[in-house]
């Protein structure tokens, strides 16, 4: 079995079989982290470029570790805003990079659709590490992997996703994946931060956190950014926490074996109480560990295809 595309641009383009293949492969990859020598030669001699137009420690490090564990040569480029204002277009930046023949480009960019532009017009295989408000496929995959580790399945679970739904690429990717795998997703946030036609995404929208969390198997908290106060989305983080913050009392409404997730970085006391983040139901640190295995799986599965122009 193989992935159908040379790129990983979004969960929207994957079918359930491909998702299953990635998760199974990731399972085999987790064992490598437990070895004394955490390296296998699978991507030896391959060059992977991590091109990050938005700052990120967690995702970039995770990809770097994954690439190194597969013995790939890795190059991380944090593109400062100034080079963008110098007038070089995204296409030119990447074409210059391609002159040095990377095998794959892992890219995070602030504009939705940036990786799609590159996939159409450049030669390398593109892995989307987050594009604007659109998708963050490896995050959703590692979230699914984490859920499966605990619940042994995805279908039929009630998953509550709470936070700034409008601006979240993690939400969109997770909704695609969980729907394809048969879970029931409840999307909760202030009405000001809900995307148009949210119900058409195949989720139950609600502005009531109690309703979303009631009997939930999984609670996924999204980050709320402080600048949302400037667009009149929320009056203050204090009021946000009052209405939508995950407190121990609220967690008690979920199933007794609920797991609590967060893509990070967390704003303690804004979307999630510290006691909950560090509490017994939290699997937040496992998500990070699983991220490496999932990214190793994605790199391995995509690396077998040669870089060619479409």
């Amino acid at each position: 079995m193989t992935l159908k595309s040379r790129h990983l641009l979004g969960i929207a383009d994957l079918d359930p079989e491909e998702i299953g293949l990635i998760l199974e492969t990731a399972d085999a990859m987790t064992e490598i982290a437990a070895r004394p020598i955490k390296k296998v030669p699978a991507l030896r001699g391959r060059t992977v470029v991590n091109l990050f137009f938005e700052p990120s420690t967690r995702t970039r490090t995770s990809f770097e570790v994954a690439e190194k564990r597969l013995s790939a040569d890795t190059l991380s480029i944090a593109v400062a805003q100034s080079s963008v204002t110098k007038g070089e277009t995204l296409l030119d930046t990447v074409r210059n990079l391609e002159a040095m023949a990377p095998d794959m480009i892992v890219m995070r960019h602030g504009s939705s659709g940036a990786p799609h532009l590159l996939a159409r017009l450049c030669r390398s295989a593109i892995i989307n590490a987050g594009d604007g408000m659109h998708e963050h496929p490896t995050q959703a995959l590692l979230d699914a992997f984490t859920i499966r580790e605990h619940k042994k399945r995805l279908d039929g679970l009630k998953v509550a996703i709470v936070g700034d739904l409008l601006h979240s690429r993690v939400l969109r990717s997770n909704v695609h994946l969980l729907n394809k795998m048969g879970a029931n997703v409840w999307a909760c946030g202030p009405t000001t931060l809900m995307p148009s036609d949210l119900a058409r995404f195949g989720v139950r929208p609600t502005a009531s956190i109690d309703e979303a969390i009631d009997e939930a198997d999984v609670i996924m908290m999204l980050r709320i950014q402080h600048e949302r106060m400037h667009g009149h989305f929320i009056p203050s983080t204090r009021e946000y926490f009052t209405l939508f913050g995950l407190t121990p009392a609220r967690v008690a409404r979920a199933k007794p074996d609920v797991i609590i997730m967060h893509p990070g970085p967390m704003n303690r006391g804004v979307e999630i109480d510290s006691d909950v983040a560090d509490g017994p139901y939290s699997v937040i640190l496992e998500q990070v560990a699983n991220g490496v295995a999932v990214r190793m799986a994605v790199l391995y599965l995509l690396a077998g295809q040669e870089a060619q122009a479409d």
Binding site: T25, R35, Q305
Partner: protein
């Protein structure tokens, strides 16, 4: 297509190999079995059971997936990558004599990959190789220490090992490619 080994012969070959192991290693201390996925794993388990029946000692057994060490990985353009499965070696291999187990020894490349993988796990005192069938045509200087059956073959033929645990019955088949004479 012809059957070159039936269930009976397979059982006796594995028993014979178990005795040879004990004789050569003077007992089972420091031994460990590592089966190469997929069919090396049930074969390793059978040998472990057999050894236990003979001298009542328990020999730890593990499973090794060599997919990520293959030398032909990433070389098939636009082809599917083989599916990776978990390696499970729940013991230290340092200072042990490792008995590597596989169903068919052919070019030797699988064993080469297995040796690379094992070295990443630790430093065994020695590695010995057990195969059920040796069909010749080595491309690397690899030799089995214990062989169930030597089976001379031509390059066009293919050897298929079927085991109860994975395929429902025990036998070894030798098949001619399509277009050859019927037997």
């Amino acid at each position: 297509m012809s059957q070159v080994m039936d269930a009976d012969r397979m059982g006796r070959a594995l028993t014979r190999i178990s005795h040879e192991i004990l004789e050569r290693n003077r007992g089972t201390s420091e031994l460990a079995l590592v089966g190469i996925r997929t069919r090396g794993v049930p074969l390793a388990r059978r040998i472990a059971r057999s050894l236990h029946e003979i001298n009542h000692e328990h020999v730890p057994t593990g499973a090794l997936d060599i997919t990520l060490y293959r030398d032909d990985l990433m070389r098939q353009p636009l082809g599917p990558q083989p599916v990776v499965h978990r390696t499970e070696i729940p013991f230290s291999i340092d200072d042990r004599r490792i008995l590597l187990v596989d169903d068919v020894l052919y070019t030797g490349r699988t064993i080469r990959a297995a040796l690379d993988a094992l070295i990443d796990f630790g430093r065994p005192r020695a590695i010995q190789l057990i195969v059920l069938i040796d069909r010749g045509h080595r491309e690397l200087p690899i030799k089995a220490d214990y062989v169930g059956k030597n089976l001379p073959t031509s390059l066009k033929e293919s050897v298929q090992v079927r085991l109860q645990e994975t395929d429902g019955e025990d036998e070894v088949l030798l098949t001619e490619p399509a277009g050859a004479e019927e037997s």
